[in-house]
């Protein structure tokens, strides 16, 4: 069970927005919200802005060390193969045997995901097609040519791979996918999906199976306001 019915209904708007994955130029013109990231040297959480992220990426050609994939100790009762998403700290854990996990850096929605809970990988796709929703095409007539779907490729905002998240066998319209903006890992800039750099989503794609459990933790605006 992912969220209560009530919660699910109230987040349908956000969910619809999540499907509207902005094209690169739209996103670049936005001012992203700052987030906190862990400084590996001081072990302190420091402010991280889009400007800082972009500068870092330009200079180093990769994301900060903390967001690169690594195997970490991770004690959990969850089965190996399970994915745990900690949007607040911008980490995705892929549970492995022996109380370890492979940890990746992620970018998340401006206001978290709008939801938290338990879903499953319903299907997986390589170089997925992206279809801009009708409302988006109305605002952006230049996207009309993609009304039937933008073919997968380096300019496609879904990136190299996509894991489609299902609840009770139905598509939630949330995905874990690649990106055309690798510097945005560690930030809260997307419209709600979980983004990874293409190299990482390709790596996760080869490890994660259809049917795998995905737990999205309570965080940010996604904190469950059940009371």
């Amino acid at each position: 069970m992912m969220v209560s019915r009530r919660k699910f209904l109230t987040t349908t708007g956000a969910a619809a927005a999540a499907a509207i994955l902005p094209a690169r130029d739209v996103l670049a013109s936005r001012t992203a919200g700052e987030s906190l990231i862990l400084d590996p040297e001081t072990r302190e959480w420091v402010r991280y802005s889009q400007r800082r992220a972009y500068r870092y990426y330009k200079k180093n050609g990769q994301v900060p060390e903390e967001f690169r994939p690594r195997d970490v100790p991770f004690r959990t009762a969850e089965e190996p193969g399970t994915i745990i998403v900690d949007g607040n700290k911008h980490f995705l854990y892929f549970v492995q045997p022996g109380f370890r996990a492979r940890r990746y850096g992620i970018g998340v929605g401006k206001e978290g995901f709008g939801w938290a809970g338990i879903v499953r990988i319903g299907r997986k796709a390589e170089w997925p097609t992206w279809t801009p929703p009708a409302e988006m095409i109305e605002r952006r007539p230049d996207l009309a040519k993609y009304a039937g779907g933008m073919p997968g490729g380096p300019d496609n905002p879904l990136g190299a791979r996509s894991l489609y998240l299902y609840e009770n066998g139905r598509d939630t319209i949330y995905r874990i996918h690649g990106t055309t903006e690798p510097w945005a890992i560690g930030l809260n800039t997307s419209s709600g999906c979980i983004r990874m750099i293409n190299e990482d989503i390709i790596d996760l794609y080869t490890r994660a199976s259809v049917g795998a459990k995905v737990i999205v933790l309570m965080q940010g605006a996604a904190l469950f306001r059940g009371v």
Partner: protein, 322 residues
């Protein structure tokens, strides 16, 4: 009169069993053990099954079922054993089936269970939180802020649990309903939050219950509070009054709870050895934590785990069989 009718029915059934050819072993006695869907009950169901088969030569079948279905099943003779009957949670069912209908009996010694608020050891050290009432302090609450809005978050249970309603009352009574955001989420999400909080060093406070594998998986600290005082608990149920929250209070810790093995009362006559085993069986809270850890965390197969457990605890089991 009812008792007489029941005796006749029992006798008839016994007669049927004796004349209908049964394709199983010479000893045709068979017991149906219900298996509820949580790990400790799954473990104890299989442990009882192994003892019945190995020590008493009684055939056993396992039947997955929920609590209500099990009580009905024991009442109508289709099920013989419920591995975990929680009290006071199931008091009304026990009153109906044990006290009024006389179809179910409970083991004498229950396993002690408790409900509290917990933090990880790391959390206790960095925040200094010691007691549940500390959470009513806005400064303390801020230390549990996970979304940078200055207010802390606390997990109070799954939306479907009956305990969660009481936790809302407790939050109001202690005052942290005003200082913290109360989160309701499935247990798996909360437990994964504990895992991830430990992995990155982030404070987290949450509802917890014992016995539970969590206490073996992580170093967990139970927050202090006054022991249960019935005079300080007044619970009005939402079904009875729209203003239940305002009218309720729960200003101390939870009352202690415990769970017992439930079994068909008729076994006392039909299978006295088995009935006496169920009456005497005594698991400890530690046993249950170990079992739940073995199945839930180590993913041991229940039947294999049960065989091993029975072999390793033969002296205790001998005591239960006397």
């Amino acid at each position: 009169m009812m008792e007489r009718v029941r005796r006749i029915l029992v006798a008839t059934t016994a007669l049927l069993v004796s004349v209908v050819p049964v394709g199983t072993a010479a000893n045709a006695d068979e017991l149906v053990i219900a298996v509820p869907n949580w790990p400790s009950a799954e473990a104890t169901a299989h442990i009882m099954g192994v003892v019945l088969e190995e020590k008493l030569n009684i055939d056993v079948t396992y039947q997955p079922a929920g609590t209500l279905g099990i009580f009905n099943g024991i009442d109508n003779g289709k099920i013989h054993v419920h591995p975990e009957v929680w009290l006071p949670n199931l008091t009304s069912l026990v009153e109906k089936y044990r006290d009024k209908r006389g179809t179910i009996a409970l083991s004498e010694n229950g396993v002690a269970a408790s409900q509290n608020m917990c933090v990880t050891r790391y959390t206790a050290e960095v925040t200094g939180v010691k007691s549940v009432s500390d959470l009513a302090d806005p400064k303390m609450s801020a230390k549990f802020d996970s979304d940078n809005d200055g207010q802390g978050e606390i997990w109070i249970g799954a939306a479907t649990w009956s305990s969660t309603m009481i936790e809302r009352i407790r939050a109001k009574s202690y005052g942290y309903a005003d200082t913290m955001r109360l989160l309701q989420m499935p247990e798996d999400v909360a437990m994964a939050t504990v895992d991830a909080s430990i992995a990155v060093g982030r404070p987290f406070v949450f509802y917890c219950y014992k016995p539970h594998h969590l206490f073996r998986l992580h170093d967990i600290v139970v927050l202090e509070e006054d022991t249960f005082d019935a005079d300080k608990w007044e619970i009005v149920f939402p079904a009875d009054d729209a203003n239940w929250l305002q009218k309720s209070r729960a200003e101390t810790g939870w009352d202690a709870s415990h769970f017992h093995v439930g079994f068909a009362a008729k076994l006392k006559e039909e299978m006295p050895e088995a009935a006496s085993f169920f009456e005497n069986i005594t698991f400890t809270s530690d046993d249950i934590t170990t079992m739940s850890y073995a199945l839930q965390v180590e993913r041991q197969e229940p039947a294999k785990f049960a065989k091993k457990w029975v072999a390793e605890n033969s002296d205790r089991i001998k005591g239960w069989l006397q």
